[in-house]
């Protein structure tokens, strides 16, 4: 057996140093998530009890923020009509990296009870990458809190990479958006 007394300590390679910095960054990011509440649909009613004294999101470090540039999480609560999806994509691209998307309710997963409507999209994951889903119609506030804790676990395990996927597979996402919406950014103020 090789003795460890005379083996010098191994120097860390550059990737390992980067990884350690990234881990430290992840520690800060998962313990202080700020969300932009994009309350598009009915599931937004579950957010007030989560934010206030009933279930207290603030002890996890999360809090509401006013603009997308300052926020980390984009919270899609409920169904997304075609009009709203254009604005959601615009807002998602305005956020600073790294950014995460959480989908509340069944509507981002498969359309929910509006799955056969002509104006509502069915699968949010085709248009912007979603990191965590919280299913239910609508989910209980405890499930919403569970979903946030799951997101924090995902950040710890480095599987919350939606924003990296968006950058790498940008053409796939853009072609999906174009097929569903026509144009994402409206070209003048007389159209919607």
């Amino acid at each position: 057996m090789k003795s460890t007394k005379f083996t010098p300590a191994r120097k860390l390679t550059k990737e390992e140093i980067d990884r350690k910095w990234w881990e430290i960054g992840d520690f800060f990011r998962r313990n202080s998530l700020w969300m932009l509440m994009y309350c598009t649909g009915c599931c937004a009613i579950e957010l007030p009890p989560a934010m206030t004294s009933a279930y207290d999101m603030e002890r996890l470090g999360m809090g509401p923020m006013a603009t997308p540039r300052q926020a980390d999480i984009l919270l899609i609560s409920g169904y997304l009509s075609v009009k709203s999806l254009r604005r959601v994509i615009y807002t998602y691209e305005q956020m600073s990296e790294p950014k995460y998307v959480v989908g509340l309710g069944s509507c981002p997963i498969n359309g929910g009870i509006y799955h056969d409507s002509h104006a509502v999209i069915n699968q949010l994951d085709q248009y912007i990458p979603v990191d965590t889903y919280v299913s239910g119609c609508m989910p209980n506030t405890e499930s919403v809190m569970n979903g946030f804790v799951d997101l924090m676990e995902q950040i710890k395990n480095k599987t919350a990479n939606g924003w990296v996927k968006y950058k790498e597979n940008n053409e796939w996402y853009k072609s999906n958006q174009k097929a569903a919406l026509g144009e994402v950014i409206i070209h003048d103020e007389f159209h919607e």
Binding site: T67, P68, R69, R87, V88, Y90, T91, Q94, I186, E189
Partner: protein, 608 residues
């Protein structure tokens, strides 16, 4: 050795040469103006600082000149502003209808300034005053409006004739027109009459409440390169007369023992304080950048009057330093606005936006000028305001201190408005292609003034050496300074230390900034609009009614002084109409009756 008489005659001669040269080629005439004013300034500064100016008179009959530190201080500052502004002439001269007159009157008014500050005879002072007023009065209507000159001349004439009355009263008591001896030997009611009339002249020239209505009209409508001279330099004539009146005359009035100040000086301080408050309030609501800076000159004129009315050497040092700092800051700000106006054609803030992206150096000039105007370290305005605060606090003047602090904080508001509405904000599409940075010959004087603004804030002690000589000449104890510190009554400041620590802090912040991840550059239109898609820049630029909630609180009271002066003018017109009706009616018999009656009345006193 340069002599004052030589410089004055040189300026008169070069004004005629500039007239003829501009007739031939306007660019050559303007370049000659630059050379003439730079020569005068350099010789004044070189000989004036060391008190080696020759004061003998060889050619002009009946004129006498005398060198005082007070006069030299003012003359060097005014000549400097003239010299820097003359660099703008080649680029602006073609906009004006009477180009040759512009250069000629410019140099002629500089001659008047030199004569006014270096004379020791009151009648000559009046002569040079009127020379300045008449030559600048014909310059102002070359700008935007002709009625501005009428307003300027009316107030200046009122001031000059009040001063002439005071001069004659002094001559009646003392027997000579001499400046230093005459004023100190005034006694009794004559002292009060001369004091009041000189103060009317000072208020009219400085633009202090209640004789301030000409300031925004004249400065706002003057030609763009002449506004820095009007606001930074020529209002200092009023400060010169104020110093003569407030410091050299001792009117007999009761002493208010609680604050250790004579009643007459306290009234003057109250008027200065009201000027500060009203100037600040009117500046906050202005939309035209030049009128805003004109109201700021009114506010700073109030600071100078308050400083000189306190009978205290710390306040005098603060007042003199404020004259210097305000001249430089006001000249810098007006020159930046003039450069913008040349490129875009307008000075109204509601029509401009985003100019910084095309004119960054002009922006830096304006930024340093307003930091000094607002009294923020590390620029020069902080030192003068600190000294004035020291004097006011030491005397315990509460209501004047309220006005002083209000003016100091309020000045942040109105100097920030052109910064946010004119230079920053969205870039309007009509200026994106056509606006370029100002030409190099215009940038040189602006950069020099910026560097001087910084120098007066960081190393003021050389200047305080000179100012202490002025205070000693006026008969008060000098301000205590050492190589890097300035002593007030209840504290010490070290301006170089403040500037150094500020630089150190910025370096630390820069290091933090550089070591983090680089940001992505985006355009100005990619901004947070609650996910609305935006297509027009004008709708996203916040410049109209910038301080609307504050303006609404006092919007009902702004016309009181203009209404007062309008009704005064109406009463004078009514009086004229009455006398015309009574004495000069269309019936010949009535006129003959009045002539006979008045002659009989006068002869009755003579013969009987």
């Amino acid at each position: 050795m340069a002599s004052i008489e030589f410089l004055i005659l040189l300026l008169v001669a070069s004004s005629l040469i500039a007239y003829l040269l501009t007739k031939v080629n306007s660019f050559l005439g303007s370049v000659f103006t630059i050379f003439a004013s730079m020569f005068v300034f350099v010789s004044l500064a070189a000989y004036g600082f060391n008190a080696t100016l020759v004061t003998d008179v060889l050619y002009l009959p009946g004129f006498t000149f005398g060198y005082t530190y007070l006069g030299a201080f003012f003359a060097i500052i005014v000549a400097f502003v003239y010299a820097m502004v003359s660099f703008f002439h080649p680029y602006f001269i073609d906009h004006y209808k009477y180009k040759n007159a512009y250069n000629m009157l410019f140099l002629l008014s500089l001659a008047g300034v030199l004569g006014a500050f270096f004379t020791d005879n009151f009648l000559q002072l009046f002569f040079f005053f009127e020379l300045i007023v008449w030559s600048t009065m014909f310059l102002i209507p070359l700008g935007k409006s002709k009625s501005a000159a009428v307003s300027y001349f009316a107030y200046s004439a009122a001031g000059s004739f009040a001063m002439l009355f005071g001069i004659f009263v002094m001559r009646a008591q003392v027997g000579s027109f001499d400046m230093t001896l005459g004023l100190s030997s005034l006694t009794g009611t004559n002292a009060i009459i001369v004091y009041v009339s000189f103060l009317i002249a000072a208020f009219a020239k400085l633009g202090v409440f209640p004789l301030h209505l000409w300031l925004p009209i004249a400065h706002g409508n003057a030609p763009h390169p002449f506004s820095p001279v009007l606001s930074g330099a020529l209002v200092k004539l009023g400060a010169f007369v104020a110093v003569l009146a407030l410091i050299r005359i001792t009117p007999a009035s009761g002493l208010i023992t609680a604050i250790n100040l004579p009643f007459a000086h306290y009234i003057v301080a109250i008027l200065g304080a009201m000027s500060i408050v009203f100037g600040t309030l009117m500046a906050i609501r202005e939309d035209d950048a030049k009128k805003l800076l004109a109201y700021s000159s009114m506010s700073h004129g109030g600071y100078i009057i308050v400083a000189f009315s306190l009978l205290d050497s710390v306040a005098y040092a603060g007042g003199f330093y404020h004259i210097l700092a305000h001249a430089l800051a006001s000249a810098g700000a007006f020159m930046a606005i003039a450069a913008v106006a040349r490129q875009t054609g307008t000075t109204k803030m509601s029509e401009l936006g985003g100019i910084i992206h095309k004119m960054p150096i002009t922006y830096i000039v304006y930024l340093v000028a307003i930091i000094s105007m607002a009294g923020i370290p590390p620029m020069g305005g902080f030192i003068s305001k600190w000294l004035i605060f020291q004097a006011v606090i030491d005397k315990g003047l509460i209501f004047i201190a309220v006005a002083l602090f209000f003016g100091s904080i309020g000045s942040f508001l109105y100097v920030f408005r052109p910064l946010a509405a004119l230079f920053l904000g969205q870039e309007l599409p009509q200026f994106k292609k056509t606006v370029k940075e100002a030409p190099i010959l215009m940038l040189i004087p602006m950069v020099i003034i910026t560097l001087l603004n910084i120098y007066t804030g960081v190393l003021p002690n050389q200047l305080f050496g000179f100012i202490n000589r002025i205070i000693g000449e006026l008969g008060f104890a000098p301000l205590v300074t050492s190589t890097f510190e300035i002593n007030g009554y209840n504290g010490i400041i070290n301006p170089a230390l403040i500037a150094g620590i500020f630089g150190f802090g910025v370096v630390i912040a820069f290091i933090i900034f550089i070591s983090l991840k680089k940001s992505k550059q985006v355009t100005l239109m990619e901004t947070y609009t609650a996910a609305n898609f935006i297509h027009t820049e004008e709708l996203l630029h916040y410049s109209v009614d910038f301080y609307a909630p504050l303006e609404r609180l006092y919007a009902k009271y702004i016309h009181i002084m203009t209404n007062f002066f309008d009704s005064l003018a109406n009463k004078v017109k009514e009086l004229g109409r009455l006398s015309k009706y009574v004495f000069m009616s269309k019936y010949v018999e009535v006129a003959i009756f009045w002539i006979v009656a008045i002659t009989a009345f006068l002869l009755w006193g003579e013969i009987l």
